[in-house]
Amino acid sequence: MDRFRMIFQYFQSNSESVMNGICGLLALASVKMYTCFDFSCPCLPRYNMAYGLGIMFVPPIALFLCGLILNRQSLVMLEEWRRPQGCRKKDLSVIRYMCSSIMQRAMIAPVIWIIVTLLDGKCLICAFSSSVDPEKFVGFANTSLVQVQQLLAKVPCKDDELMRNNTSRKAVSRYLRCWSQALGWSILLILIIAAFLACWLRPCFNQVTLLQARHWSNYIDIEQKIFEETCCEHSRLFAHKCILHFFESMRQEMKLHSFSLPREGEGTEGEENLLRDITDKDQVNKLLKMWYYEKPPLNVSQTTQR
């Protein structure tokens, strides 16, 4: 529990960590979704390719968009990009830095989906079983074109009655899976090498610009958070003053209407101040009715004149 709490606090410590945390969660979610997803190839000549490639490419797009949506920095970057210049100049390198870091984080979950799909192999087997050269496989070599298309399309379905004990089906399946896994591992290797080179070569170019861009992007993020917090604090104080003002004005109105005597502060208990001269069922009802029918104006400057 302690370890969990430490990890949780670490991730909350700054917004970059939070983004990394969300990124990691999305990557885990993408693997989980793939394992939960019940892949069932249609085993029909034209549908196979559409289904297989669809499963391989449509969820990554959705995951990429999710990664952009869940990342708070993307909003900050857009606001900074679209704001009017005003008194503060816009620095394009900061915006570029933010954009590239957002894109990098958003790309992780889709890439993981594609790699897991390729390493598993089912998608590629489904998509390309009809495109295999039938001459290479004994069972499909000497049949007519239409029939061979139909048979090859059924290769991904192990339980189909035609394919149940067909050794050529297993051969095609193994062949395609081998290609799929080779592709998966190659992509993984290329991406890791690219990431490695980017990390190592980046300090050789424009280190100063990078440091500045990172600092100012962090600053913009923090500034926006603090602005929101200050607005919250301000609205709380505003509401407090407004309500006090309302109770005071109600008290004055009661005094005008009911000739009851003003209580001077001395010698009264704390309760009197809280009651604010509203000591009657009708007065309370009137106060609540006034609150509903005529909310006070949003102007607390008069309280300072009292």
């Binding site: 949780f8 249609p42 029909l44 669809g54 606001e79 379905c157 000591t279 029918y293």
Partner: protein, 338 residues
């Protein structure tokens, strides 16, 4: 337990996080309800479509309404919408902002239900099994089947145990076909929803940022103001009740004392705190009378201003005297109807 408490505290730290938390819980609940639900296709020609589409569309509607009900800002929105204008103008942009943010959060659980249903495939298989293209997938030339008969046979596709049309169209072929269509629809739906969410979120800073900041501030303000008003009223009610009850007990003790021809007893200065708290009621009979009085005849909701402390036991009247002496102890006028 500790982990839950921490997560709970994090989510409660501000209102928006709390709403996001409820949203996430509802989404997980909707996925869990779907997996716990025992789907039972009726396998009859016209019932299939009704059942399948019903399971696809009715629970999301319920989840959407539930999302609004569980959102405690709904009453705030309704109140702000219906209140009379009074001295404070109404801003339709604020109302729109509140409604949009509530609707967006309420849409997540239904979207999760629809996606999970489509990706699983059972609903679409059940609803559209009678529309399977038998010409391409099976043998339409299978003899002796009228339209109605064929529909009846096809309707049994989801129920493998009673399916008897294996020569017409193989069960696995039809189920695979329908499930493929269903999953394609599901992923398209997911893509469409995420694209919509992305557009809504990213177009806002490009066009209406200033108006957005204003609406957000004032909707937040309305929420805080309502909470503070409730707190202030609760404080007021507490003080009101305290003074009312205090006046009741004092009135009781004064009343009973004057009924027995004793002057009202002033607590001597050196008596301890406990004796003061007894409020003049010091025997069983008096206490019983006080309790009976409280039940039969609660005091009016009217805290009287204090009367002059004079020696003749005048217990105060409706109209207070015109010249207030400087410090006075508050005494209630209690009219016993016992």
């Amino acid at each position: 337990m500790d982990k839950f408490r921490m997560i709970f505290q994090f989510l409660q730290s501000n209102q928006e996080s709390f709403m996001n938390g409820i949203c996430g819980i509802m989404a997980l609940a909707s996925a869990q309800i779907y997996s716990a639900f025992d789907f039972n296709c009726p396998c009859l020609p016209h019932y299939n479509l009704a059942y399948g589409l019903g399971i696809l569309l009715v629970p999301p509607f319920i989840l959407f309404l539930l999302g609004f009900v569980l959102n405690n800002n709904v009453s705030m929105l309704a109140e702000e919408w219906r209140r009379p204008q009074g001295q404070r103008g109404k801003d339709p942009a604020v109302l729109r902002y509140m409604f949009c943010s509530m609707a967006q959060r309420a849409m997540i659980a239904p979207a999760v239900w629809v996606s999970v249903t489509l990706l699983d495939g059972k609903c679409i298989t059940c609803a559209f099994c009678t529309s399977v293209p038998v010409e391409t997938l099976g043998n339409i030339s299978h003899p002796g089947l009228s339209q109605g008969e064929m529909k009846r046979v096809l309707a049994r596709i989801p129920c493998k145990e009673i399916y008897d049309g294996q020569e017409l169209i193989a069960n696995e072929v039809a189920v695979r076909y329908l499930r493929c269509i269903s999953q394609a629809l599901g992923w398209c739906f997911v893509l469409m929803m995420t694209t919509l969410a992305f557009l809504v979120r990213s177009l806002r800073p490009c066009f209406t940022q200033a108006a957005f900041l204003k609406s957000r501030y004032w909707s937040h303000y309305i929420d805080i103001e309502r909470k503070l008003f409730d707190e202030t009223c609760a404080e007021h009610a507490r003080s009101f009740a305290k003074v009312c009850i205090q006046q009741f007990f004092e009135g009781m003790s004064t009343d009973l004392a004057s009924a027995r021809c004793h002057p009202p007893r002033k607590a001597p200065a050196d008596v301890g705190e406990a004796a003061e708290k007894l409020l003049g009621i010091t025997d069983q009979g008096t206490m019983n009378t006080a309790l009976k009085s409280w039940h039969r005849c609660k005091p009016p909701l009217h805290l009287h201003p204090p009367a002059l402390p004079s020696g003749n036991g005048w217990a105060g009247e409706e109209q207070p005297p015109p010249h207030p002496p400087v410090p006075r102890r508050e005494m209630a006028a209690y009219y016993s109807r016992v």
